[in-house]
């Protein structure tokens, strides 16, 4: 049972959610990953452990949090620890199997920039910065990335190496003494990408339903490589889609309402 009427954003979130296993311990990055991680939890991976950098471990929010530090993350968590403990015992301690990151700018090797557009000292656009990403990228067992494709986001050369993916490719991680796998999956609104086993360049392995190679290339700033055996991403199932839509509806209802908001 699959639905044919879904948006590319819905497809992205659902395809990303499928990558998480029930036994994973997942460090949930800011933004897009949060929806994917919670859909995984609400569908095929009810026991997946979700960790947010605010210190909430094993959280199970009813609605998507507005930030990584919402009260509901704490209310539904197995435990909430201090931020130093989170980064020392839980992330650096090597206990997290998957780090799920978004990206403002990314290159073909999964290196991510969320720091600046332009020169660091005189930036064209000052972005938020790395937050937890630099050590999520090196300490988690592997890294999943999810983002909406655009030529502005997927670039030949990123302006700043906020977090390290596969560097210049090949065994660059090992040469830096990083023992974790790094980016092993990227899910966009158009396709599923995996790194080439040798070069580590992200390669399209699956096109979402209705998406062509040309559409993927049109929204990517480098020359896209496609796998020899290119698959089609299974469309969202009815359950996946209704779970996502219910979550979004609950989230919208919970976070809107008649608040004045004039005195920030």
């Amino acid at each position: 049972m699959s639905e044919t009427d879904f948006t590319s954003n819905e497809m992205m979130t659902i395809a990303a959610s499928r990558a998480l296993k029930n036994t994973d311990v997942c460090f949930v990055g800011i933004g897009a990953p949060s929806a994917a991680c919670n859909i995984a939890r609400l569908t095929h991976a009810p026991d997946v452990t979700l960790i947010y950098e605010s210190g909430t471990i094993g959280t199970a929010p009813q609605v998507l949090p507005l930030s990584i530090g919402d009260g509901e993350l704490c209310d539904t968590a197995v435990t909430t620890v201090s931020v130093p403990e989170m980064f020392r015992y839980w992330l650096q301690g090597g206990r997290v199997t998957v780090g799920f990151l978004g990206a403002a700018q990314i290159d073909r090797f999964g290196n991510i920039n969320t720091t600046v557009i332009g020169d660091y000292d005189h930036p064209k656009t000052r972005l938020p910065g790395g937050g937890g990403a630099p050590e999520i990228a090196s300490s988690c067992g592997e890294i999943f990335i999810t983002l909406k494709q655009s030529k502005r986001a997927m670039v030949d050369k990123i302006d700043f190496f906020t977090s390290f993916g596969h560097g210049e490719g090949g065994d660059h991680r090992q040469r830096l003494g990083i023992t974790t796998k790094g980016p092993t999956l990227m899910v966009t609104d158009l396709a599923v990408w995996k790194p080439d086993p040798v070069t580590r360049e992200f390669t399209v392995v699956s096109l979402h339903p209705g998406v062509t190679r040309e559409m993927v290339q049109a929204e990517c700033g480098w020359t896209v490589r496609f796998a020899d055996k290119l698959e089609e991403t299974p469309a969202p199932t009815g359950i996946e889609l209704s779970t996502l839509r219910d979550l979004n509806a609950r989230t919208k209802a919970a976070h809107s309402g008649g608040k004045t908001g004039e005195a920030a």
């Binding site: 930030s67 003494g177 990083i178």
Partner: protein, 284 residues
């Protein structure tokens, strides 16, 4: 030993122009009232420290109170970028600020080292990350047993840390519950500390292992109900999300920013925060 006083008194006694100051909080319990009081008192040339500078640091920067920012993630949580910070960094308005940028892991470890009285923190970090190129305060140490090279950053030791907490008892012991962030470390790392609280009670009624700061480890306590608005205080009131969204528009232009600051900060008082959270009180 914690002294109870008004927030204007606490800021006047503990924050000086030129200080290194942390107004800490991790989405939860952001000390807005304290930052507003600092702006009202015209404090300048601050070196501001915080893992997650958000709206309130945008305000301090936009008002020209900040010389330098030490941070790891600067954003309007759940909304987007900080427009006053961008205007300063990209356009130099009202002036350019100096930036010392770290990762969360580095900042968390640096606060922890500060609380522990150590001069630096060692951790496994910054591998392949470019911040190590642009921040001279990122160095390394070598493990004397394994030879592994680890990242090292200086401990954070603010002159003063401001936090907001749920409650204090009459001896000045302070309870923080829920997402506790890095506040305990930020207070213990600082020479002085000012804590605004939702209420002052006879008995904290705290779990034995809850996050409690003993009164003798705190400098000043100020009763400011609602003092974390528009962020939230677990068990007291919820986040005013509309205010965060509104801030994006207010901060977009210098004029609207300055007008808002006059009405809501310069011409306001700490007591005004209680009204701002009336509609956000927890059902509990």
């Amino acid at each position: 030993m914690a002294q109870f006083m008004t927030l204007p008194e606490a800021v006047a006694q503990n924050l000086n122009s030129g200080d290194t100051a942390a107004f800490e909080g991790f989405t939860h319990l952001i000390p807005h009232a304290s930052a507003h009081e600092a702006i009202r008192q015209g404090i300048k040339d601050l070196t501001l420290v915080r893992m997650t500078p958000d709206v309130v640091y945008d305000q301090l920067i936009g008002m020209g109170a900040v010389k330098k920012l030490i941070f790891s993630y600067a954003g309007n949580p759940g909304v987007g970028l900080l427009r006053r910070l961008r205007d300063s960094v990209e356009n130099g308005w009202p002036h350019a600020i100096e930036i010392e940028e770290h990762s969360h892991a580095a900042m968390a470890n640096a606060y922890e080292a500060g609380a522990a009285g150590l001069p630096f923190a060692a951790f496994r970090g910054y591998k392949g990350a470019e911040l190590a190129r642009v921040n001279p305060n990122i160095k390394s140490v070598t493990c004397p047993f394994t030879g592994e090279e680890l990242a090292a950053v200086p401990a954070i030791r603010p002159d003063v840390t401001f936090i907001h907490a749920q409650k204090a008892d009459r001896k000045g012991n302070v309870l923080i519950e829920g997402i506790v962030g890095v506040q305990k470390e930020a207070v213990l790392a600082a020479k002085r500390s000012v804590i605004t609280v939702e209420e002052i009670v006879d008995d904290l009624d705290a779990h034995p292992n809850a996050c409690v700061l003993p009164g003798w480890a705190v400098t000043a306590i100020c009763l400011v109900p609602g003092g974390a608005h528009p962020s939230y205080a677990h068990g007291y009131y919820s986040r005013d999300n509309a205010s965060y969204i509104a801030w994006d528009k207010i901060a977009a232009e210098r004029d609207t920013f300055l007008a808002w600051m006059k009405d809501n900060v310069l011409d306001a008082r700490p007591e005004d925060f209680a009204d701002r959270i009336k509609h956000l009180r927890s059902a509990a």
